[in-house]
């Protein structure tokens, strides 16, 4: 059983890591809660689903481009103008999530849809048989997070992102184009959600209410602390671990999110800025 818990934790942790890091990246830089992040994940899934006649490879590439373009439009029209007004921005993105949920329901129907696997077949690790897709998804997720870390740490653009996150005013003073950095961050953030859809939507299926995956990522986001990539990565596997232990010992269903949400609130009581978060203003 321990092997099974370990393997499934690794897989679920990959999903949480991608979702949480994508979400907290844009929030860390712009202070805006993009509650439509999960809806964009869902939308990317539906893009792949309806473009699959192009062949899977082409469908994935086109979907990723489409979802990033969508994110630019969302940023330009809805989020950018409200950057200084966090509360309104949160509500606007929440409304957007509901609009996307209903649009998806009207276009593709309320039923659950499946997306074809990138890779087929099974592999055995630690004596547990899992589909190759799941393993590929988790490994790619971790790989993408590492690539993002290197990007943020080493490249000029990455340094600009960090500068804006740390102090917007000073970043502006040294000549960084704030809105350019913001829109780039938004693109990267949503690209991660798009990759999450490519990798995990075939495993967990897609439906119009799938955008609430963002809610399930909240414990990870909180535990990781906004803006800390390493923290979010660690938190993703801790939360996934807790969920899987509950699932294998007590049972699945409603109890799993209830317990992790409760854990999340306890963490916040003890450390109001998250476990790995520094309390920047």
């Amino acid at each position: 059983m321990i092997e099974e818990i370990l393997v499934s934790t690794f897989i679920l942790g990959g999903l949480y890591a991608l979702m949480a890091i994508g979400y907290s990246l844009i929030q860390g830089v712009s202070r805006i809660m993009n509650l439509a992040h999960g809806a964009l994940y869902m939308l990317a899934g539906y893009f792949i689903y309806s473009l699959s006649f192009l062949g899977l490879g082409a469908a994935i590439v086109v979907s990723l481009i489409l979802i990033v373009l969508t994110s630019f439009i969302v940023y330009k029209i809805l989020i950018g103008p409200l950057r200084e007004k966090e509360a309104r921005a949160a509500l606007v993105t929440l409304a957007l999530a509901l609009i996307l949920q209903e649009s998806v329901k009207l276009i593709w129907g309320p039923e659950v849809q499946s997306i074809s696997y990138v890779v087929v077949g099974y592999v055995t690790i630690l004596g547990v048989r899992v589909t190759s897709q799941k393993l590929l998804a988790a490994i790619t997720a971790v790989f993408l997070v590492v690539v993002l870390m290197v990007f943020i740490r080493r490249t000029k653009q990455g340094k600009a992102i960090r500068a804006v996150a740390q102090n917007m005013e000073v970043a502006r003073l040294v000549g960084i184009n704030i809105s350019k950095v913001m829109i780039m961050t938004m693109g990267i953030s949503v690209l991660l959600a798009g990759f999450a859809a490519v990798l995990f939507a075939p495993v967990y299926l897609i439906s119009p209410t799938e955008w609430t995956i963002l809610f399930r990522s909240f414990p990870t986001i909180i535990l990781g602390g906004l803006g800390s990539l390493k923290g979010s990565l660690a938190a993703a596997f801790i939360i996934a671990g807790i969920e899987k232990v509950i699932e294998f010992t007590i049972g699945g269903g409603y109890i799993v999110p209830t317990v992790t949400f409760a854990v999340m609130i306890i963490i916040l009581f003890v450390r109001p800025a998250g476990l790995f978060g520094q309390s920047t203003n």
Binding site: M33, A87, F218, P257, P272
Partner: protein, 339 residues
């Protein structure tokens, strides 16, 4: 003579009132005499729900709009009270006029519990936490179906009244009383302190206000009125199910308050009626209902932070500007002609 003076007094008073308050006054007069004109069951039911959601929206407004504590999970207070009123009615046979206020008291208790993390958390973390709270409660209800009724919830509660007109008037009375009390609070010293916390909590603290105490108070007031609305709905529907904790309920409260104008209390009455009418008008295209609610929400928050009345007020002001501009232009022309 004396009567005449009274009339002018009233006219003066009306002139001083804000546009929002005038609309509210007109609405409440129309609503009070409405059953004399029609006893249509369908129409009155819609209005009863509009009254409940007006209270619910106003209860969000005192916390979110006036005090600036941004709760995304107001359904928590509403739902807990609906369940507690229901349980008290079912198991202790208490009548609605007792269970609804007790439900309000449970709203206060829940308010205190939720207030605790809000004091320590930054705004954004609290927004996330508040969004999650109702989900936790729904999860607990699903986990213990034997006690809580699980997915089907609890049913068979006492009706408010078998006569729809009586139910209508009790909902109207409850709404008007709640709005009256909340507006009184808004305009009192407490309301001023709430607003000072919203605008700048640190400065409020620096000028000697115990912000912790007042934040708790705001949660308590908000929880009480949300609780009353929840209890009333439980008795109206004669049942309560875990779907009451659906985030969509919370958004509805925020939307009603924002549509009428955040931080104004009376605004949520207008917002609630507007949304109820819109919802009923869209009944025939039921599958677009959530879509349109969400679209209204998006447009209001993106473009009309002052609420929908602001739209008309703005247009009015623009007209005035155009008018005075024309007058100026006309005057100048006159001058030019003379010299």
């Amino acid at each position: 003579m004396k009567e005449e003076k009274n009339v002018t007094d009233i006219i003066e008073l009306l002139k001083e009132m804000s546009l929002r308050l005038k609309v509210f006054l007109l609405l409440s007069i129309v609503l009070s005499i409405l059953p004399a004109l029609t006893r249509d069951h369908y129409l009155l039911t819609i209005l009863i729900f509009a009254n409940i959601y007006a209270i619910f929206g106003a209860s969000w407004d005192i916390l979110g709009g006036v005090t600036g504590i941004f709760s995304l999970g107001h359904a928590l207070f509403f739902g807990v009270s609906a369940y507690m009123s229901g349980a008290l009615n079912l198991f202790l046979n208490l009548p609605p006029w007792m269970t609804i206020p007790i439900g309000g008291v449970f709203g206060v208790i829940v308010g205190f519990v939720v207030a605790l993390p809000s004091l320590r958390l930054k705004n954004q973390y609290f927004a996330i936490t508040s969004l999650i709270f109702p989900t936790i409660l729904a999860g607990i209800i699903y986990m213990y179906p034997d006690i809580t009724g699980g997915e089907t919830g609890i049913y068979g509660l006492t009706q408010i009244s078998s006569d729809i007109v009586v139910t209508y008037y009790s909902s109207l009375l409850l709404m008007l009383a709640s709005i009256f009390v909340l507006v009184k609070i808004l305009n009192s010293r407490i309301g001023l302190i709430f607003r000072s916390i919203r605008d700048d909590a640190e400065t409020a603290e620096a000028s000697g206000i115990n912000t912790t105490k007042y934040k708790f108070l705001s949660f308590a007031i908000s929880g009480f009125f949300a609780g009353i609305a929840g209890g009333f709905q439980a008795h109206l529907l004669m049942s309560t199910s875990p779907s009451i904790f659906n985030p969509f309920y919370s958004f509805q409260a925020i939307l009603n308050a924002s549509l009428g104008g955040i931080g104004t209390i009376v605004g949520s009455v207008g917002g609630s009626y507007l949304m109820s009418i819109l919802n009923e008008a869209l009944r025939s295209i039921g599958q677009f209902r959530v879509f349109i609610t969400a679209l209204v929400m998006l447009l209001v928050f993106r473009y009309l932070p002052g609420g929908i009345l602001r739209l008309f007020a703005k247009r009015y002001r623009i007209n005035l500007e155009v008018w005075s501009g024309l007058k100026k232009l006309w005057g100048k022309k006159d001058d030019g002609f003379d010299t």
